[in-house]
């Protein structure tokens, strides 16, 4: 069902948790269809210095959250904004067709967190 990479991220999720003093927080999802993702950012000089997530959702939701944090960490905000859901899915070696809507969320949550950061810093 899931690729080995998905299962690896699911078993050993990277960057789980929250940042006490987050510079930006993004939340997306809908409890109706079973997933909520929250991403916390710490930004220094336009670079994502630290990133954490909390996710309520299936194996794919947790794995994509984990993967997106790994992909975003160390990137500039502009680079991070270029990450797409498709890229996250590819990074994970693909997702089952029925699960594609979960991978949609991970990049969206990252974007929401970056926007939150930009907004509170009037960028």
């Amino acid at each position: 069902m899931y690729s080995e990479k998905v299962m690896d991220h699911f078993k050993n999720p990277r960057n789980v948790g929250e940042l006490e003093k987050a510079d930006g927080v993004g939340e997306v999802g809908n409890i109706k269809c079973g997933d909520i993702m929250r991403i916390y950012l710490q930004v220094e000089e336009g670079i994502i210095k630290d990133i954490k997530f909390r996710t309520f959702g299936c194996g794919a939701a947790i794995a994509t959250s984990s993967a997106v944090t790994e992909m975003a960490k160390g990137k500039t905000l502009d680079e991070a904004l270029k990450l797409t859901n498709q890229m996250v899915a590819e990074e994970l070696g693909g997702l089952p067709p029925l699960k594609m809507h979960c991978s949609n969320l991970a990049a969206d949550a990252l974007k929401a967190a970056i926007e939150d950061y930009k907004k509170s810093n009037n960028l």
């Binding site: 079973g34 997933d35 909390r54 996710t55 959702g57």
Partner: protein, 385 residues
């Protein structure tokens, strides 16, 4: 790694005695029971014996009331479409419940699209229908009431005898889906009083792909598929002989070993008690009128599929009513009909015990599940963490 199978409501391992009974029919006894020669006649005798065993297991008056099908799903479809087809001149109204298996629910909905009227009885928070509501729902043109004997997700047992009493007064047929009850609680068609009843072999330690519909003598029923003369034309097609033989054996064993369910229900209660000790966990389904092997709990703040995958990694095979396990958007229609919120329904966990379940299995679950829940909750944005 220890592997614990707690998904007996999904399917059961085949009993060695059942397999042993089947094997000759994959070897020397390969004839087609419809054939007139010795190879066929010999097999036909055994098919009849299996029919007798199944009839006896459910207390049918005669083996001629048993029609073998390819499983519980087909038995349900045959019951509903078969009655509708036979009685459509009499009426167009069917009564069912909101928590039926999809084999019944989707069939009723297909009929709705064809112009039939379907009443889906609501259930209370324990998953039980209201007999008063049922009574009021029956109309002059009601031709069938189809209500499951016990629910596959939450294990709640319905008061079928009472349903039958109400239906009989109005002369309406009653079908019940006993796929989950045979072998778990007594199933006797004459005591229940139903006109039609569905069962399936793979839920009672028999093979997958064979089931049966009990049709009380005199009940008007048309076939769903057409072809040769098998199953008295109600269910044509070359018989799944080995499957039928296995079903007969499994049905016989199931009724002989009903006593084991007392042991199973004690383990169930221990498991429920232990799980309820975890914070923000609640039992789904009826606290008392539930199947001996069924445990269904909602575990707040975590999602079912993630829980299942984590448990699987620890060797525990379970099931969930989360939408994410099926890739659909809506979580279990059963849990939602019982009034659970989306979030709570998403976090449901079903553990169904069976003959092979031991006290050690339960102890292992009670050690592992709280740990897994804790780990997943620590990842969740919901709840207090």
């Amino acid at each position: 790694m220890r592997r614990i199978y707690l998904d007996h409501a999904a399917t059961t391992p085949i009993s060695p005695k059942v397999l042993e009974a089947m094997l000759p029919f994959y070897n020397e006894l390969f004839g087609n029971p419809s054939s007139i020669h010795g190879f066929g006649r010999e097999v036909a005798i055994h098919v009849d014996k299996a029919r007798e065993k199944v009839a006896k297991a459910i207390g049918a008056a005669s083996p001629q009331e048993i029609y073998f099908t390819s499983g519980g799903t087909e038995a349900d479809n045959l019951a509903i479409f078969g009655v509708i087809e036979a009685l459509q001149n009499k009426g167009k109204h069917i009564i069912t419940s909101a928590i039926e298996h999809h084999a019944v629910l989707d069939t009723c909905e297909a009929l709705e699209k064809k112009g039939f009227e379907v009443t889906k009885l609501p259930v209370d928070e324990n998953g039980v229908i209201d007999l008063e509501v049922l009574k009021k729902s029956i109309k002059d043109d009601t031709i069938l009431i189809t209500l499951m004997h016990a629910n596959n997700e939450v294990g709640t047992i319905q008061p079928i005898e009472e349903v039958v009493k109400i239906a009989k007064e109005k002369g309406v047929y009653v079908h019940t889906d006993s796929v989950q009850t045979l072998g778990s609680i007594p199933v006797n068609v004459q005591e229940l009083g139903v006109d039609l009843l569905s069962i399936s072999a793979h839920k009672i330690y028999g093979p997958k792909g064979v089931g049966a519909l009990y049709v009380k003598k005199g009940t008007k029923l048309k076939s769903l598929v057409f072809g040769g003369g098998q199953e008295r034309k109600i269910r044509p097609g070359t018989e799944n002989v080995a499957g039928i033989i296995g079903f007969g054996e499994a049905a016989e064993i199931a009724t002989l070993s009903l006593a084991d369910n007392e042991r199973i229900s004690k383990l169930r209660d221990k498991l429920i008690e232990g799980l309820l000790k975890i914070e923000d966990v609640k039992l789904n389904g009826h606290p008392i009128n539930r199947l001996p092997g069924n445990v269904n709990v909602s575990i707040e703040y975590i999602e079912g599929e993630a829980l299942l995958l984590s448990l699987d990694m620890e060797g525990i095979a379970a099931s969930s009513g989360s939408a994410c396990t099926s890739g659909s958007l809506d979580p279990s229609h059963v849990l939602m009909s019982m009034g659970l919120s989306h979030q709570t329904a998403h976090g449901s966990l079903r553990l169904t015990l069976g003959k092979g379940t031991t006290e050690e299995d339960i102890d292992y679950c009670l050690k592992v599940i709280p740990e897994v829940v804790h780990r997943l909750r620590s990842m969740s944005p919901l709840g207090k963490n």
